[in-house]
């Protein structure tokens, strides 16, 4: 099999892994709670008493919905598969670890992209919040979803059979991200010590793209936002591969 043939095999297997996750895990109660309900309650907690209008709050809700939904599938599915030994089936197939990581990330990506439509449509129909520019919205949803899906896959590399172990670690990262990414607190208003951290959060760039779609202005250049999200995706994919390799003994 040539290089193209192997690439096709890898992509085919990655898609098969994503389809399998869709069939098995999308409607598991713990995924629904952590991926769909948790961001909604987080939003309501912050929205109560907040004077910002829907054009600021709706993009923020979309951003945190993506953060939580995209990163919730693999931290649940992979430990369960380790426990059931079905993960061995993936890592013993004639495909590389890249294909496994890609396939797992793909399922989180598709889940999150679908869930992101809920606040998007609610914004349009209930709060009459128009989208000014479609391109940054599409780029923001797709890239942020894939970025956090890969982050979820990266955390799930930790060799445990308990989803709770990974969720605890993941929340230590996810929750602070909300405060340093301009979702509810504008980047300009973040204290100077926090402003450094802003640059290291992928949510900053995803939220910036989505805010631009609704408000027509962004903190960074849109090209910078897109480039940074690509860089984070690449870093997470490479690290995930390394960790699965190291911890798969």
């Amino acid at each position: 099999m040539g290089r193209n043939g192997q690439l096709y095999a890898e992509l085919n297997a990655a898609w098969a892994i994503a389809k399998k996750d869709i069939a098995i895990y999308y409607f598991k109660p713990n995924i629904i709670v952590s991926g769909a309900l948790f961001p909604l309650f987080m939003f309501l907690a912050f929205a109560a008493g907040n004077s910002a209008g829907p054009s600021v709050m709706i993009p923020g809700l979309i951003a945190i919905t993506i953060l939580f939904s995209a990163s919730s599938i693999e931290p649940v599915s992979i430990p369960i598969e380790r426990r059931m030994k079905t993960f061995d089936r993936l890592v013993s197939a004639p495909i590389s670890l890249h294909a496994v990581v890609l396939g797992e990330s793909l399922s989180g990506f598709l889940y999150s992209t679908g869930i992101a439509f809920v606040p998007l449509i609610a914004g349009l129909l209930i709060f009459r919040t128009p989208v000014i520019s479609i391109a940054p919205l599409v780029a923001g949803i797709l890239l942020t979803s894939f970025c956090f899906a890969t982050m979820g896959t990266l955390f799930a590399a930790y060799p445990t059979e308990s989803p709770g172990d990974i969720m605890s670690m993941l929340n230590l990262v996810r929750l602070p991200l909300i405060f340093i990414s301009g979702v509810f607190i504008p980047i300009e208003s973040i204290p100077s010590i926090g402003k450094v951290a802003v640059y290291f959060s992928p949510l900053t760039y995803g939220n910036d793209l989505i805010q631009a779609a609704y408000n027509g202005h962004s903190h960074f250049s849109l090209l910078v936002d897109v480039a940074m999200l690509f860089i984070f995706i690449l870093i997470f994919q490479i690290f995930a591969n390394q960790l699965y390799k190291r911890w798969n003994e």
């Binding site: 085919n12 098969a16 098995i24 059931m84 030994k85 061995d88 089936r89 013993s92 004639p94």
Partner: protein
């Protein structure tokens, strides 16, 4: 070209030595048994040979492909049936098979034809759309084996294939292994079921504490311990202290009670038969049956692994 070539393979987990410099080869078309007690290193060996886990030292090739450097090419030749029935309970039997076929990049038409053939072979076709969650242990094991065969492998790894199964599933799986072997498929079978290895394997490796104690055909292994000849006797009546009495007979080195029978180990079975008949006469009991037995593979296994004296303090990694 050998199906498997293992050259000074070792695996360490920290200070624990799971595999200690093992070497062997398996010819194409051979059924090779890997026999050992729990924790001996059987599953570790399979994980190394299938590229799931990297070795600490040494090298292994599958049909000439290095399992570390050419992992994907090596895996394409093999089917793997893991120790536990690792199937997706929330998917149907058909979905499980098709998913595995997709991991091996088998085209739609081919995987559907092959899937139907395998589910019929394993008696699961009627249940193909049922979620696996409701399957019995034997049905799950049969499905696991079907998934291991979906890519028509030249080499099949079977990790404890019949452990704890019902009679029907056992028979189906054994028949399939025989059939595969007749078609030239190489089978690498790990088991702690000695009888399974005895009847199914062309050659057997006995592994103990990460090292290979012996490799040969079952019959040749048995000849290595001729001292383990024995006389098996059943008496017409039970009596206390009989085991101790039999132990006192001249020429008897060991007595084992096995159900309603006694097994007397000796170098000279004919003398022991005469002594047993005389013992029965003196104790007013009848001899219901008496047979001479050669050494079994179990005897070889016990001798080589020192199983009877290993009771405590053994670290297991299997």
């Amino acid at each position: 070209m050998n199906a498997i070539e293992v050259d000074h393979l070792s695996k360490h987990f920290g200070k624990l030595v799971a595999l200690n410099d093992i070497s062997f080869s398996v010819s194409e078309g051979e059924t090779f048994g890997f026999l050992g007690p729990n924790g001996a290193g059987k599953t570790t060996t399979i994980r190394l040979l299938t590229g799931i886990s990297p070795p600490t030292g040494g090298k292994a090739t599958i049909f000439g492909k290095d399992i570390v450097k050419e992992t994907t090419a090596a895996r394409k030749q093999m089917g793997i049936v893991h120790e536990t029935s690792n199937i997706y309970d929330d998917l149907s039997a058909w979905q499980n098979l098709m998913f595995t076929a997709e991991l091996y990049t088998i085209g739609k038409k081919e995987r559907e034809e092959r899937g139907k053939e395998l589910l019929e072979l394993f008696g699961l076709w009627e249940r193909r759309t049922d979620r696996v969650h409701g399957f019995s242990k034997g049905m799950k094991r049969r499905l696991t084996l079907a998934m291991g065969l979906i890519n028509n492998p030249r080499l099949l790894f079977l990790d404890e294939p019949t452990s704890g199964l019902d009679v029907q599933s056992n028979l189906i799986i054994r028949e399939v292994i025989r059939d595969l072997n007749s078609k030239g498929v190489t089978v690498f079978l790990t088991t702690h079921n000695i009888e399974e290895a005895n009847v199914a394997c062309d050659r057997v490796a006995i592994i103990n504490r990460g090292s290979i104690a012996a490799i040969d055909s079952p019959e040749r292994l048995k000849t290595t311990i001729q001292s383990a000849q024995s006389v098996e006797v059943a008496f017409g009546s039970a009596a206390t202290g009989r085991e101790r009495d039999l132990q006192q007979l001249p020429g008897v080195s060991e007595v084992r009670k096995e159900g309603d029978k006694f097994r007397l180990f000796t170098r000279n079975p004919s003398d022991v038969i005469a002594e047993v008949m005389e013992y029965a006469h003196l104790n007013n009991t009848r001899v219901l049956s008496i047979n001479t037995l050669g050494p079994s593979l179990e005897d070889v296994f016990i001798k080589l692994t020192g199983l009877e004296i290993r009771t405590k303090g053994v670290s297991t990694v299997d």
